[in-house]
């Protein structure tokens, strides 16, 4: 017993002397907060890269799911953590949308943005039985003639709602926006024919597009989505609707520059890894690495755009 006590004391002393300032970052496991529940698309995207990131980092990464408030709760927890690089945040567009709708109190500039890693795209689709709107022209023509009639399910105030607002802005169609919840719920409403047009992330729609049940009318991206190479983008069809969900890495405000730089490099290497790319493609995720500098420019622009959309859509807090 006494031997054990002595040993642990010695160990404690040793730890005390090595202190955090001397050793190179990281010297202990890192907590990565995912502000959404386990099993969701955000959670899966984080879990895809941790194994490889652990190798590059030489430390283990613990994913901690803190769900609630449309991502706002986990974001809040991350913002309150010590800015020592041992608590990081995995977030996408909802960081900014939740701030503007009043669901969350933290925006991108209350954190230290590190880098962007990947993205997924959204597709506009209709049910195959909805013959009078099965092309983009028909949809827009009918929508313009009958404002607030075509049912478009969204999660109010979430990213896809902003995408719908962007679609409205570009096409001049006023949809009948219905509240249906997340991706699964919206797909459910479309397959159950309680919706007319859905603008949502591609992954869950793929099997139905392949089976011919859903007809894709356009992807909200600059370039065609690798998962749907035959589907033209909305931009190609003359409507400037670009709505990718960029997923990136953040830290609490005041994160040291060396930590930011280390993670920026790791992010770049991760997205260049063909194995990781292969795993990501299975769930329609694609690399879209942005360096710290580019990421911040991107966020600022995105923030202004989403703020304006929130204002026109009546979502602003």
């Amino acid at each position: 017993m006494r031997k054990m006590a002595f040993l642990s004391l010695a160990l404690l002393a040793l730890l005390g002397f090595t202190g955090p300032a001397i050793a190179a970052y990281p010297e202990k496991p890192i907590k990565l907060i995912v502000p959404f529940g386990a099993g969701g698309s955000s959670d899966m995207s984080a879990r895809l890269i941790t194994k490889e990131a652990e190798k590059l980092l030489g430390q283990s990464i613990a994913i901690v799911n803190i769900a609630g408030g449309g991502g706002g709760i986990g974001t809040l927890e991350a913002s309150k953590a010590a800015p020592d690089g041992y608590t990081l945040l995995w977030q996408h567009k909802s960081l900014i949308t939740a701030f503007h709708t009043g669901a969350s109190e933290i925006n991108w500039d209350n954190l230290t943005p590190i880098s962007n890693l990947m993205l997924f795209n959204e597709v506009v689709h209709v049910h195959k039985d909805n013959k009078d709107i099965d092309t983009l022209e028909k949809l827009i023509a009918k929508g313009r003639a009958n404002p607030e009639t075509l049912r478009l399910p969204v999660q109010i105030g979430a990213g896809a709602h902003f995408s719908a607002l962007e679609l409205e802005k570009a096409t001049g169609v006023k949809f009948h926006i219905i509240a249906s919840g997340g991706d699964t719920d919206r797909l459910n409403e479309q397959l159950g024919k309680r919706a007319d047009v859905v603008f949502q992330s591609i992954t869950p729609t793929l099997p139905h597009i392949k089976a011919g049940t859903l007809i894709p009318l356009g992807v909200g991206a600059e370039q065609r989505d690798p998962g749907l190479p035959d589907v033209p983008t909305l931009t190609e069809q003359g409507y400037d609707v670009v709505t990718p969900f960029n997923i990136g890495l953040y830290g609490p405000a005041g994160l040291p520059a060396d930590v930011v730089e280390k993670w920026d490099q790791i992010s770049k290497k991760l997205m260049e890894n063909p194995e990781t790319q292969k795993e990501m493609a299975k769930v329609s995720l694609f690399p879209s690495y942005m360096s710290t500098k580019d990421f911040r420019v991107h966020l600022k622009k995105l923030n202004d755009n989403l703020h304006d959309l929130a204002k026109t859509g009546g979502l602003l807090k």
Partner: protein
């Protein structure tokens, strides 16, 4: 022929020694996880997913499936023995499971639960195997208004006054409904009733409230009998296994509850706790001896456990045929399937029939393994009631606190446990029933969500509630359930004199048809 051929190939996949071994391990771990309040099957699956990367597809899926099956069943153990539901889906099991165990028959109570779990699960897996496409159509056809009406059938149970006066039940239920509204508005996501505290803006974690209300008051009242323990328990196999006669008498109840569970499983976002409560309610309504419910009725345990396990098979139907996960556990299984290049949806059965049937058969095998394991484990589990309370309370409390924390990884959730624990203790002392409050907290938000979704689709009109036939039927059932306690209150006095003489076991309860 196509069908039988692929079932045969699927069976070969499942009965490989490595797959079977993983089912055995997964089911055992699942049962243990389900037993611990706060830990759910979902967490076990989330932790196991990275492990499945290195296993073969069938091996990995079998592990996830068996964790799910075991986790759903394990919840009944703590519900019965400690009056603390191990998972939210076992809330309704505490109503009769614990009273029966408290009468010195924990083995019998567990036995009823296991039999019902097995039969309910089995029923739903056969539905999955044989009727998946048809039932998927049913799932798709339900509108938000219809889902609201179905949830209302379970929610009106807050007016149940079998344990106290109607006014106290309704008060507790209303408090629960209010607590359920704290946090983000379900439609627009903006915080409400959060008293401007960012800590409250995300709402309470339901599991913390559940543990607080069920576990803490129970443990606090147990402290008063800290040196007591049961002397004898019924844990011989003869005591445990329900007799065929008992199953026969409850056949209608078992089938109805399994059907309710499967149906609720199909509906996205409603969940096993609703299914169990709904089935319990229907069993009570149909019973010839509703007064025995809440006092250790066999049919109460049967209804709850058959329904919550039947949810599993039901939930797999929209997942496999449409790629629509209706609950967090299903979402994780979807991830597990995707990792292995199996994309659920209309083409799954044609593209990879063998492994898809293997997937379904793995549920069935796990169901059988579950019964075997539970029968072996019943004796050690039931021994828990022979441990003096002063040795039992501290570890249970510790486990509850850990369970509340790991659900969402926030320290405040532990304070929520203690806050609601003290409230629950006060309520218990003043004869306010806890179950209506928990129902309000869990079901209130589900009902509100679907009603308000429906209202955005109908542009604010409530007419679909009476125009859609399914809505109307379920709302009428809800009204009957709501009025029923008033009628019973009236007739209770008449029964009171007779029921004094009735001290026999729940085995004499011939209700259920």
């Amino acid at each position: 022929m196509f069908f039988l051929e692929h079932i045969g190939l699927g069976l070969q996949l499942v009965l490989q020694p490595s797959v079977f071994l993983l089912i055995l391990i997964g089911t055992a771990i699942g049962i243990c996880v389900g037993t611990i309040p706060g830990l759910t099957a979902m967490m076990a699956i989330a932790i196991a997913i990275p492990i499945t990367y290195s296993l073969g597809p069938m091996q990995g899926l079998a592990l996830l499936i068996s964790l799910y099956v075991g986790g759903m069943t394990g919840g009944l153990v703590s519900a019965v023995l400690l009056n603390i539901p191990g998972t939210p889906s076992s809330i309704a099991t505490t109503f009769d499971g614990y009273p029966l165990a408290a009468r010195g028959k924990p083995g019998k109570a567990l036995g009823y639960g296991i039999a019902a779990s097995f039969l309910g699960g089995g029923f739903s897996y056969f539905c999955l195997l044989l009727l998946a496409p048809t039932l998927a159509e049913v799932a798709l056809s339900l509108s938000p208004f219809e889902i609201f009406a179905i949830v209302m059938c379970a929610l009106v149970m807050i007016a149940d006054n079998s344990q106290s006066s109607l006014s106290k039940a309704l008060t507790a239920g209303s408090v629960g409904l209010f607590v359920g509204t704290i946090g983000p508005d379900p439609i627009v996501g903006v915080p409400r009733f959060d008293f401007d505290s960012p800590q409250l803006s995300g709402g309470f974690v339901k599991v913390s409230i559940l543990i607080g209300l069920f576990a803490i008051p129970q443990l606090l009242s147990d402290v008063r009998h800290a040196h007591e323990a049961e002397k004898t328990i019924d844990a011989t196999y003869r005591d445990i296994l329900p007799k065929l006669r008992e199953l026969g008498q409850s056949a209608v109840n078992l089938i109805r509850s399994s059907f309710i569970g499967t149906l609720i499983g199909l509906v996205p976002g409603v969940g096993a706790s609703t299914a169990a409560l709904l089935a319990y309610n229907q069993a009570k309504l149909a019973s010839k001896h509703p007064e025995k419910f809440g006092k250790g009725a066999r049919d109460g345990i049967f209804a709850s456990e058959a329904a919550n396990n039947a949810v599993i098979g039901g939930a797999m139907i929209p997942l496999l045929t449409l790629g629509l996960p209706g609950c967090p556990a299903a979402a994780l299984l979807l991830a597990g399937l995707t990792i292995n290049n199996l994309i659920p949806g209309p083409l799954l059965f044609t593209n990879s029939p063998d492994i898809t049937y293997g997937f379904i058969l793995a549920f069935m095998v796990s169901n059988v393994v579950m019964v075997g394991l539970m029968i072996i484990l019943i004796k050690p589990f039931a021994m828990v009631v022979r441990i003096p309370k002063y040795l039992l309370i501290p570890p249970i409390l510790a486990i509850c606190v850990i369970g509340a924390y790991v659900t969402n990884n926030r320290f405040i959730d532990i304070w929520v446990v203690f806050g609601f624990g003290l409230l629950g203790y006060w309520m218990k002392k003043h004869a306010y029933p806890l179950a209506p409050m928990v129902l309000g907290v869990i079901l209130g938000p589900i009902a509100e969500l679907h009603l308000r979704r429906g209202l955005t689709a109908s542009k604010g009109s409530f007419m679909p509630l009476v125009n859609e036939p399914v809505c109307l039927v379920f709302l009428i059932i809800s009204v009957i359930i709501l009025v029923y306690p008033f009628v019973r209150e009236h007739s209770r006095k008449v029964h009171l004199a007779q029921s004094d003489a009735d001290g026999s076991s729940a085995g004499s309860n011939r209700g259920g048809a």
